[in-house]
């Protein structure tokens, strides 16, 4: 890196603003979202368990039951989390923490339809033993299968909030 003859030097942080984010950053954001979603679903399930326990002796014994209902609710929670986040701001919580954003080529967040398409792409990428995610490593534009399916890009977007500058201004004053 320093001899100047081989690979070019790594760009400094601010230069990366607006360029496509790489595999590791996106993986960290994805894992953070998985942790958040798992916590939400686990907590919701646990509350339902507690309430079920409370009313166990109330004499209600309904014949209809299905674990598929819980599975369907889980899918809706996961789908809603991603679709709403992407279509409103382009960011999930994980992406916001890691400072990346899902955008269309014009720089705007994807529409709801595109977000659904991207969610479908997530499923495809996952079902192919996560090959669609690892594709980011070899794709010339750092795009996964889900990005190709939905026509989206994931870019570094750190400057939007400028927290550091706000902080320094307050400390100086």
């Amino acid at each position: 890196m320093t001899d100047g003859s081989s690979a070019p030097e790594r760009p400094v942080l601010q230069q990366l603003q607006g360029t496509t984010a790489g595999f590791v950053t996106r993986l960290l954001a994805y894992l953070l979202d998985v942790v958040i979603l798992t916590a939400i679903i686990a907590f919701g399930g646990w509350v339902a368990l507690l309430l079920d326990d409370l009313f166990k002796d109330a004499g209600f014994d309904l014949p209809t039951s299905s674990a598929a209902v819980f599975a369907a609710l889980t899918v809706w929670v996961i789908g809603g989390y991603y679709v709403i986040s992407w279509s409103l701001t382009g960011r999930t919580v994980g992406k916001a923490v890691l400072g990346v954003k899902v955008v269309m080529p014009n720089g705007r967040p994807p529409s709801i339809g595109r977000s659904f398409l991207r969610l479908f792409g997530y499923a495809v990428s996952t079902l192919a033993l996560f090959a669609g995610y690892f594709w980011i490593l070899v794709d010339e534009n750092r795009k996964g299968w889900h990005d190709h399916i939905a026509g989206t890009w994931v870019v570094y977007d750190w400057n939007r909030r400028k927290k550091g500058e706000i902080y320094e201004t307050m400390v100086d004053s």
């Binding site: 907590f43 399930g45 339902a48």
Partner: protein
């Protein structure tokens, strides 16, 4: 408790299995039914003891339904309130562990300490109020409402009066962006660059100086 219930089959007794659908239905049906019938009788009995009957209270069916839930939690199964916080703490433990490398051990331990302290205090308060409700079972309903209000008020007061929480909010707003999060982002970007460089070498592609920007052409 469940062995006395004639509607529960033997297999369910020996192998209790949680069913989320039934849990939700029981919540709705149980709240309405208990509110409309069981607690009306309990309230009438308590009111008769005080000589003022139910008109002194005058709850609607909806409020009674809500009260049934409160009574159920605060009076009939108080131990579950305490176990709620214990279980929540256990559930969150791996989450905290997983998040620690990301947000930094120092900040995480601070967050964990504040949340843990709030949880412990609230659990202790809930247990104390539930014990009062159990001792005064005839007036359990009114005590439960008081307990609920006190617990909520106390929790809100505790939240609003904590300097450490103020610091935490300030920290989240300003400091985290400057410190741990920025560090994670920088590390992530560096790792992006390294991993991509490595794969480009393996695929015999020429190195590039900057990642691409979004383009309509692709």
């Amino acid at each position: 408790m469940s062995s006395e219930n004639p509607t529960v089959s033997d297999s369910e007794q020996t192998e209790p299995k949680w069913d989320p659908y039934r849990a939700v239905v029981r919540l709705i049906a149980g709240g309405v039914s208990l509110g409309a019938e069981g607690l009306r009788a309990a309230d009438a009995a308590a009111g008769a003891e005080e000589g003022s009957a139910a008109d002194a209270v005058g709850f609607s069916a909806t409020l009674e339904s809500a009260t049934a839930l409160i009574v159920g939690v605060a009076v009939e199964t108080p131990d579950r309130i305490v176990s709620l916080f214990d279980t929540a703490d256990r559930v969150m433990a791996p989450v905290r562990t997983a998040a620690r490398p990301v947000v930094g051990a120092l900040r995480q331990s601070f967050v964990g300490r504040v949340v843990g302290e709030l949880g412990t205090n609230t659990a202790a308060e809930a247990a104390r109020l539930a014990a009062v409700g159990r001792a005064e079972i005839n007036q359990g309903r009114r005590l439960a409402i008081t307990a609920y209000n006190e617990a909520v008020d106390g929790f809100i007061e505790q939240l609003s009066g904590r300097q450490s929480l103020d610091d935490l909010v300030s920290d989240q707003t300003l400091g985290v962006g400057k410190g741990a999060v920025e560090e994670v982002r920088e590390t992530g970007a560096a790792a992006d660059w390294l991993s991509e460089s490595m794969f480009r070498r393996v695929l015999r592609r020429p190195p590039r100086s900057m990642p691409p920007k979004p383009s309509p052409a692709t």
